[in-house]
Symmetry: D2
Subunit: 345 residues, 4 copies
Amino acid sequence: MNFRSDNVTGVAPEILDALAAANREATATPYGGDAWTARVEARFDDLFERKVAVFPVATGSAANVLGLTMLTPPYGAIYCHVDSHIAVDECGAPEFYTGGAKLVDLPGANGKLEAGHLDAVIGAAAAGDVHHVQPAAISLTQSTEAGTVYTLDEVAAIAEVARRHDLAVQMDGARFANAVVALDRAPAELTWKAGVDVLSFGATKNGAMAAEAVVFFDPARAEGFGFRRKRGGHLVSKMRFLSAQLEAYLTDDLWLRNARHANAMAARLAAGLETVPGLRFRYPVEANELFVEVPGAVAAGLEADGFLIYRWQDGPDPLLRLVTAFSTAAADVDRFIASATRHAR
Amino acid sequence: MNFRSDNVTGVAPEILDALAAANREATATPYGGDAWTARVEARFDDLFERKVAVFPVATGSAANVLGLTMLTPPYGAIYCHVDSHIAVDECGAPEFYTGGAKLVDLPGANGKLEAGHLDAVIGAAAAGDVHHVQPAAISLTQSTEAGTVYTLDEVAAIAEVARRHDLAVQMDGARFANAVVALDRAPAELTWKAGVDVLSFGATKNGAMAAEAVVFFDPARAEGFGFRRKRGGHLVSKMRFLSAQLEAYLTDDLWLRNARHANAMAARLAAGLETVPGLRFRYPVEANELFVEVPGAVAAGLEADGFLIYRWQDGPDPLLRLVTAFSTAAADVDRFIASATRHAR
Amino acid sequence: MNFRSDNVTGVAPEILDALAAANREATATPYGGDAWTARVEARFDDLFERKVAVFPVATGSAANVLGLTMLTPPYGAIYCHVDSHIAVDECGAPEFYTGGAKLVDLPGANGKLEAGHLDAVIGAAAAGDVHHVQPAAISLTQSTEAGTVYTLDEVAAIAEVARRHDLAVQMDGARFANAVVALDRAPAELTWKAGVDVLSFGATKNGAMAAEAVVFFDPARAEGFGFRRKRGGHLVSKMRFLSAQLEAYLTDDLWLRNARHANAMAARLAAGLETVPGLRFRYPVEANELFVEVPGAVAAGLEADGFLIYRWQDGPDPLLRLVTAFSTAAADVDRFIASATRHAR
Amino acid sequence: MNFRSDNVTGVAPEILDALAAANREATATPYGGDAWTARVEARFDDLFERKVAVFPVATGSAANVLGLTMLTPPYGAIYCHVDSHIAVDECGAPEFYTGGAKLVDLPGANGKLEAGHLDAVIGAAAAGDVHHVQPAAISLTQSTEAGTVYTLDEVAAIAEVARRHDLAVQMDGARFANAVVALDRAPAELTWKAGVDVLSFGATKNGAMAAEAVVFFDPARAEGFGFRRKRGGHLVSKMRFLSAQLEAYLTDDLWLRNARHANAMAARLAAGLETVPGLRFRYPVEANELFVEVPGAVAAGLEADGFLIYRWQDGPDPLLRLVTAFSTAAADVDRFIASATRHAR
């Protein structure tokens, strides 16, 4: 009963089957010249209701930093939330890949950047002054690291700020599916129609083995990306097995079904925990993550009962991060609530 | 009937089974804190008869460049064969990862560096002179890009040159298994006992889906590697599926059995083609690659018969690269020989 | 009457004379193999009361970033003040030179980092966790960008934090002379005896044409620096003219005399402006910079009177930065005070 | 009597005077916002008979690598002569600044690249193939490291190859003046009219203290250069002293007069040495450098007589590099010839 993260999960059966199916073909052209990759490319065009340029990679780190590399010169500034993955959890990968661009990390309630604040900060940056890094891109995380979801209006407002200052917009969509499900809107609306230029389309946390895709909504913007992926060491040779994961992920709405389940489990967990006295939610629960401050005894009790939880911030009343996934069992959620309730007494 | 490369192949059944088996565990600690990875680490200790530091990654490019990064300062020189993968086929990945180290590419018969030549070149490099990049490492490919194999003595002689000049030795072992089988010596003898410091231990071309390992024979030398892998975007989150591939690869000598088959198919193909008039082998066939100059009509005939071949150098008498693999069928080899024979008349 | 910065100044006569004198020798070994450089090296040993490794460069940017490069891996974190030059005014040079290290910029009263805060921040950084950049160095600016000066105890306390967490300490001494004069302590006490590892020893702002020196108090720490200076393009060929500037700068305490004058002019200016109604000093005036909030009419009046001032922050009551230098005339200071007084009425 | 290099020289009196004159102005706007820099910019427009973008820097290394950075992506290939400064003498600076672009060094008689060879090599490069670095620029050295000079036709032919393959052309003009004088053609003809995109316009070796200029013939191509210069640490604060050198250098044809003298001294030395038995010139003497193979006894004798010479390649018959400069005395040249003659007996 592991609620630590959605990357503790295994592979969705449909995706594992797709790998086996892809293996039935004796040989395939490597490096993406295969039929699976061609089909995945067409799928993404359909999904986003336009011709896009899409590049599968094996990790979310790679998707984010390779995408950002296309949006900033080495002397650029990338504006992001102070808790964003690129700012905190990539060991400097964005700086490495971009040749030294600067992440300007900004605060923001509920894990979200705020358009007005961005506008002020970027407006105050000395555009054109050689002494300072130059505003180049804004990076949003959707759904956020706080388990919240930018509304369509919020995304559009931020993209409008970007446009005003001639910046590009990248979206870290490691949990994009959870946001799509939460907002119940078309992927196109949530991205390019709202002003997003590049999306890291995550699949790993939501059922794939190791598969993400970098999506450029304007294919012209992707010029040279292939070289950067290759020299990052991220061009997988037996690409069919990466593309096959993505293909299965998009087939029969698996990605949405998986995310719907994960979000539903999070809602069920939230609903249950809300009835437990002494617990305080740090953020609204809008996707598949919960941040709950609990009495130390509750945390210890849950652990003693065998639940694996992430003490996001430790202390007398630790802040727990609880993550649900496509594979989370409702019974486990209920057991978790029962355990928390018992220890809260 | 694809003889273009060993990365056109699929996944060995034992490895696909291992992935399915790994998926039976509902959850696992991500980023390598799982049981599969722990077991793989122990396996590599056994395999190399000493405590090693081993890091799974998904691509051979990543294995090579991350390994090299530990051996050279940004102002270092890495000596390699002019046809080596790092010099030719990585789109500048070594330069990117090392922060700008210089690959000094040297000629050498049969795809091999030659110790005496290396000694002269490195001796003539201006060690200590700030105007010039500083000798830092030698990179060997085993088996080579020419389908040949360094003998134990050749490796040792090169490592001795390295030691004399205080350089490190990296081995690109994308096809290491083929060399081990060809030489019929223990992996330890072929590597650290001969003076190799870091090995890119390849599995993908020989039956894995996407799995390689960077092996440091002196674990102290690996200090900081984890950070570099992470910021390269090469720390896979659901690591168990990478480690499970490597575990299966090493189980019951699958890696050696697969390589033995590939080499045997290459030998069979070579023996057959040697009887065909008008064909000229460019290099001795010692592992699983053949380089054969054939009359244009033969190349065209083979293609017309449905064989996928790699015209390595085009021309009236094109140079073909033919690669066999763990999954190459003897019947296909025989058909290839028959086709070549027919068209050579 | 330019109070905008100390780099609007020309060259101290003694230093210009030294350039002419250095030119009397027809030829000299380039790249630092000359007699001037040898003498300067000895001078620095004397100045700092120990054997040091010293490297002249032409710009303060180069001094800072090259020095920092020796203290951090590419995946390191450098802790610095939010207003520090490396954080704000180098267009990403530190990130470029270090290969992507992260500047963690911290607030702090009066332009200074605070030891306790540093300790907390560094203690909370996840040392050893591959997901995060690793604490590597602390950078202090002495005197600070706020025109204040770290006391000896403050430097020592910060260095103690560094030592506790195994970090190195760099000091940006673009205005080091002003601090030495302000504190009236030996350079050795202010640096290595207090725990500083590397110093950017500035001369340009205090009378040189273009000359700074990177000083490593432990020469072993400088290993490889020469290569980094060269590949940064910062190894000047006719080095005697760089070293001659530094030699003259240190001769007969020119550097201290110049700084003493600059500080005295700042004190005189501060004393005068303190009597002007409606002016508010942002920071204590301890070196050669003043930050004063003035009514808009005063700022406009000063400008109308021909004074060149730096509107550090604009607004109805702009914040002015006023900088004095070795060449500032007392009469100009008095005129400035008179003008401000007149316009403040 | 130092014939080792032209950077052993001091500063031309006119340039030293200009520095003193520039110092008479009490203050000046830093970082290039000064009158000297504005005048220099206008001068370069005149000199090259078109609007150019010009950026002063202090070293030739900086000029070259910053210029190249504008012409290549990190995954680009720069074609250069195997003996070029960027390939051999910059300790990897080009790789560092470009983020890892690859220098492809090519042989060529008399230190020159050959258009036909370039065409073949670039034509064989796999443009568009993600596995390989992409042809981006050609770098010429004029006059060459061999002391020869590309003819106008040779430059134009190489530029034509560049244009055909969509590459840019950079010219390392550390000794550009010597080539202009040797060819007796307008600077415009030798550069942009022949197809050169960016020029490192050298002054240091020919009389300046430390001054070079990066010249973009199409100012649009320079977009972003200012940021790159700054983050390289190459934006000098008291820029007037850099620009003043360049202004004096261009005034009254000082640069041409100096180069004419240097070339004349080289011709005089060559004429004298041609009469000495046993000496063999490696390359034609066309600018201010001579490469002469001499009997060991002659080399030793010259050294014993107090001549400082550069043993470019040592051996029983060492290859000497002899360089003349703006300050070389004819009497010293004659003494050198006499000494060589005496020892050759």
